[in-house]
């Protein structure tokens, strides 16, 4: 994957670059907003790690220009300022995720993985643990053995795969699944979840319950 790191602090930029390069990505660096903007016009990136506090034009402006061109790159915003306000502003402008400085390498890696998986989702079969998922063929296998899934269970699985590492609320799930039929209660969601769990848990894939809220597709061990 091709990744652009936009960060003016050389120590942090160096660290970020090293982490991403070790994960096997092609990394370009930009220290200024204008430089980043130029790089983003010149090439297409899968992911932009974007610092907000840049010496010339700030990260928000770089992001705004990027989205004006309808460029599809995933953007992970790094902020040293007000986390909550920057997050809202950044997400409004089309950022895909954010991290507040300072953050741990593990956290950074997890976010990057999640964002990159999003782009790579439709391409062929994905393996998670002993589970192989072929989205196009609508087929899952555990250690090679095909598993039958109902339409609702497939929809549920796709929902989790589209937003890896994110907690999905029951309401959110009910809303998404309702497209296939009519209204769906949160109780029904619980039923579908438990059915899906029963079918795939033997593959070492875990759907964690967030008590009173929703579910989390745990993929951190892949």
């Amino acid at each position: 994957m091709r990744i652009l790191v936009v960060e003016d602090d050389s120590l942090l930029a160096q660290g970020l670059t090293r982490v991403l390069a070790r994960a096997g990505h092609a990394v370009d660096k930009a220290e200024m907003g204008v430089q980043a903007d130029k790089a983003l016009r010149a090439a297409s990136y899968d992911l932009v790690v974007l610092d907000i506090g840049l010496p010339d034009i700030d990260g928000f402006e770089v992001l705004r220009r990027l989205r004006l061109r309808h460029a599809g790159a995933n953007v992970l915003v790094l902020t040293a300022r007000d986390a909550v306000e920057d997050r809202v502003h950044g997400l409004d402008l089309g950022a895909d995720d954010y991290l507040t400085k300072p953050f741990s390498v593990t956290e950074f890696e997890a976010r990057v993985r999640a964002l990159l998986r999003r782009t790579s989702l439709p391409a062929g079969a994905v393996s998670i643990g002993r589970l192989t998922i072929d989205v196009e063929a609508k087929l899952i296998r555990i250690s090679g053995t095909p598993i039958e899934l109902t339409v609702r269970e497939w929809a549920l699985l796709e929902l989790f795969m589209a937003r890896p590492g994110r907690v999905l609320s029951k309401e959110q799930i009910a809303q998404q699944l309702a497209d296939y039929d009519s209204q769906l209660t949160t109780n029904a969601v619980e039923v579908y979840i438990s059915r899906l769990r029963a079918k795939i848990e033997t593959a070492g894939v875990h759907i964690r319950t967030v008590r009173g809220f929703g579910y989390l597709w745990e993929t951190s061990n892949d």
């Binding site: 506090g53 040293a80 300072p102 609320s169 008590r211 009173g212 745990e218």
Partner: protein, 462 residues
């Protein structure tokens, strides 16, 4: 102990101290003036009527060979000198001075030329009298004296008629001044209530337009002071925010490199040392974040005009992603019991409040424990709470845990003691009541529930 009454400066007393002597002087002056006018009027009026019997007497003196003689009957004399109020005495003296008729005890009159008349004050048997004296063409002196009863009465009547209204007006003036001061000072009471109702962070200027011109300069000066305070507060907060902000990036770089270093093959000794540096760096980063949050919470105390309707459920929703991951990392079961409830406030600050409650709960709850976020309405007032089944906060520390940099002695963890101070600031900003309780249905001293109850206000946003 000797109690000393400290006489405080009072506008009302100052005004009365000025008014009472001035009014007294005016009343005394008016009294003196009235007295002289009354005296003049009484003297003029009664002197003329006193002259008549004197002239009558003089006309009735017959010059006979053996000397002058008053040819008047006793009854006529009495009728002439009759007065229902005063005693009248007469005396007729020969040109030589000898008394030929009337009372001998009247003093000698002044020298008069024949035909001349005179009025003067004198005494008769020790009593003050007014005397009308006439010298006839034949050289006889005729005097009629009169006691002063009706004259004095008239003077007093005139004096009273003039003075009573003056005294009443003076008293009324004092009473009006007394109440007028209270009325005039009413705007000061208004300013007092305005200032008393404020939080220490509310440094907005007072309205200069609704205050009377007399105290406008004082309000203006007060507002200038408030503006200076505000500015210096803002500068301090900006500085703190900038400092925290500037610290974050190098700390992020440092933390990242330490973590990369820890991934290498290291000797146990080196690993231990680098791990120590890593812990310290993470702590410094956390502290920088909290200082920034605190500065922000304080800074936005001022713009309380910018309140939005915030759904507490939404605030909790935003916290879910980040905190679920952290709870999983610490093997803590993080759960939610959320109902929609709206408060008037700042969503970013409320998010900051929940973040710090959760940070605090996750920090002090042992592995395998559980933490629950609740929000909703109780008796119409919205609340937000975070409870855990950790060791609990000892009763003795309840009063202090919301202080800055306070940490309960002997507690593990690397918190700086700012989290709950931020919670307190934000709760204060939203007029919320902050309480430490036991989690529901748990009476054996285990666990902590920190709850913020907000004032029932905002209507449900649809």
């Amino acid at each position: 102990m000797t109690s000393r009454v400290i006489r405080r400066n009072s506008i009302r007393r100052r005004l009365l101290l000025f008014l009472i002597p001035s009014l007294l002087l005016l009343v005394v002056g008016a009294a003196a003036l009235t007295y002289y006018v009354a005296l003049h009027v009484a003297t003029f009026a009664y002197d003329r009527s006193l002259l008549d019997p004197a002239l009558d007497m003089a006309a009735n003196v017959r010059m006979e060979p053996e000397g002058p003689r008053l040819a008047m009957l006793k009854q006529a004399q009495e009728a002439l000198l009759y007065d229902h109020e005063d005693t009248l005495i007469f005396q007729i003296r020969a040109p030589g001075g000898a008394v030929i008729a009337g009372d001998e005890d009247l003093n000698l009159p002044p020298n008069l030329v024949p035909g001349e008349r005179s009025f003067f004050d004198s005494r008769y048997h020790g009593e003050p009298v007014r005397v009308a004296a006439v010298r006839s063409n034949s050289g006889l002196y005729v005097q009629v004296a009169e006691t002063l009863h009706k004259r004095n009465r008239l003077i007093w009547e005139i004096l009273a008629a003039g003075l009573l209204p003056a005294l009443l007006i003076a008293l009324a003036t004092l009473a009006l001044a007394w109440t007028g001061v209270a009325r005039g000072l009413a705007p000061l009471a208004w300013i007092r209530t305005q200032l008393l109702g404020r939080t220490p962070h509310d440094l907005r200027p007072l309205d200069e337009h609704t205050t009377p011109v007399e105290i406008a300069p004082a309000i203006e000066a007060l507002n200038r002071l408030l503006a200076q305070l505000r500015e210096s507060n803002e500068m301090q907060q900006r500085f703190l925010a900038n400092a925290a902000h500037q610290l974050r990036t190098p700390l992020a770089g440092l933390q990242m490199h330490l973590e990369l270093l820890l991934r290498r093959d290291l000797s146990p000794e080196v690993r231990e040392e680098i791990a120590g540096m890593h812990v310290a760096t993470v702590r410094a980063g956390h502290l920088a974040n909290q200082l920034l949050a605190l500065a922000k919470a304080e800074a936005s105390m001022d713009d309380s005009g910018r309140l939005a309707t915030v759904d507490l459920h939404g605030v909790a929703d935003h916290a879910v992603q980040e905190w679920v991951q952290r709870a999983i990392a610490r093997d803590i079961d993080l759960g939610f019991v959320l109902e929609h409830a709206t408060v008037a406030g700042n969503a970013a600050l409320l998010g900051e409040l929940l973040d710090n409650l959760l940070d605090n709960a996750l920090r002090y709850t042992p592995r395998g424990g559980s933490v629950t976020v609740r929000c909703g309405s109780e008796l119409g007032s919205p609340y937000l709470s975070v409870e855990d089944n950790g060791p609990g906060i000892p009763e003795s520390a309840h009063g202090r845990v919301f202080e800055r940099f306070y940490r309960i002695q002997g507690t593990p963890g690397d918190g700086a003691g700012l989290g709950l101070a931020i919670v307190k600031e934000v709760a204060l900003r939203h007029h919320g009541a902050l309480r430490i309780e036991r989690p529901n249905g748990n009476d054996n001293g285990e666990g902590t529930r920190i709850v913020i109850r907000f004032p029932a206000a905002a209507p449900e946003s649809t």
